[in-house]
């Protein structure tokens, strides 16, 4: 019934859960993350592109079980997540730290309605940052989220990340919490200019 056709193979949540224990860590963390989100039965993904999320965006784009939405600005994803949950779907929002600032008022939507929200935020402006324009929002990301009533979790290593996202997904979808997982810039690696 939807207009968009997506290419690629079908991966089920069950397959993803089974393969979780077998895949190697570290270099393959985006694939691990994808399997965790599949195991959590995520069916809709919204994103503003970021280099740190590029592999995950590609994996979801090739997944016919999941609807992907490219956004013009990050707060759109808060609204889409709300509509998804109203209709019975779990979703995830992928964004960069600079985009958290765009979301501030819209976060009242998920806290007022107590709608599950899982945001994966790639951090800029902290570890070996070259671009000073990334620094202000990088410093403000966690305080802004906290001020709006969003639970903030942070991952500095690939292993941390997988366990933290598993935990955040459970908190969001089982306990109707609003959770942001910050992927540290150290984990993502230094950007080459």
């Amino acid at each position: 019934m939807q207009g968009q056709s997506l290419s690629g193979g079908l991966v089920t949540g069950e397959d993803a859960a089974k393969s979780l224990d077998r895949a190697p860590l570290d270099a393959e963390w985006p694939e691990q993350l994808y399997r965790v989100l599949k195991a959590a039965q995520v069916r809709q993904v919204s994103y503003v592109p970021d280099a740190g999320h590029s592999a995950l965006i590609r994996l979801f784009a090739a997944d016919r079980e999941v609807r992907s939405n490219v956004l013009t600005t990050e707060e759109e994803g808060i609204a889409i997540a709300t509509g998804a949950w109203l209709g019975g779907n779990r979703s995830v929002l992928l964004l960069q730290s600079s985009g958290v600032g765009n979301c501030v008022n819209m976060l009242s939507l998920v806290t007022m309605t107590r709608t599950p929200l899982l945001m994966l935020v790639t951090m800029r402006g902290e570890w070996a940052e070259f671009n000073p324009w990334q620094v202000p929002m990088g410093l403000a990301t966690a305080p802004v989220l906290t001020a709006m009533g969003i639970r903030v979790m942070r991952a500095d290593t690939p292993r941390d990340l997988i366990e933290t996202v598993e935990s955040a997904a459970a908190l969001a979808f089982e306990a109707e919490q609003q959770v942001a997982v910050l992927l540290s810039q150290r984990l993502l690696g230094r950007k080459t200019w």
């Binding site: 956004l71 949950w85 109203l86 779907n89 939507l109």
Partner: protein, 197 residues
């Protein structure tokens, strides 16, 4: 068209759109559209917004993607849609054929003292939606057009649709639905057979 030529009454327009309800799921933008939809008859399939300006159409998108067999109608105002203008681009990429955006367009920010909005200054929202790639997008100015939109809500489409309905700039007496957001969410989900946690 000069403002004096606009004769449609917003409450009458919304009542006509929802006269035949069937399985429609309704999302309302904050302010007058929320009151208009409540005035047409409260319903478990109504999702009312009291805030989060700019979110209505995108909540409609998320819902339409999650419920592909139901028609989702977003009823919002020109000011609310203008705050989420980029969302029209996002919706058009997905282009779900079960999503209809209806803007009750009075050319003004009615809730805050009737300041003129961008549509009052000449911006054509239907043209924006058309440019973004909606399957159908047009402006309606008379009762015959409203009745056509009401029928369209129950007709198949090749993609997302957008209708701007020009109405008189006035604030009818407020008709207030519940503003307990968790209650409205759970009531709506129960209407779809979905449980609470």
């Amino acid at each position: 068209m000069p403002a004096s030529a606009i004769s449609l009454d917003r409450r009458d327009v919304v009542a006509r759109l929802l006269a035949r309800r069937d399985g429609l799921l309704i999302v309302t933008g904050l302010g007058s559209p929320t009151y208009d939809v409540n005035a047409a008859g409260d319903h478990d399939g109504n999702y009312y917004l009291w805030g989060a300006m700019g979110s209505a159409a995108l909540i409609g998108l998320g819902l339409a993607q999650a419920q592909p067999d139901r028609t989702v109608v977003v009823i919002t105002g020109d000011g609310e849609q203008l705050m989420g203008l980029g969302g029209l681009a996002t919706i058009a990429v997905s282009n779900p054929n079960n999503l209809v955006i209806v803007v009750i367009d009075n050319d003004h920010f009615g809730e805050t003292g009737m300041q003129m909005s961008h549509t009052g200054h000449g911006l054509d929202l239907a043209s924006v939606a058309q440019s973004c790639g909606f399957a159908e997008a047009r402006t309606v100015r008379d009762i015959a057009g409203v009745e056509e939109v009401a029928r369209a809500l129950h007709s198949p489409s090749s993609g997302a649709r957008f209708f701007a309905i020009k109405v008189k700039a006035e604030n009818p007496p407020r008709s207030l639905p519940p503003r307990d957001a968790v209650h409205i969410k759970n009531r709506f989900r129960a209407h779809l057979g979905l449980g609470t946690i």
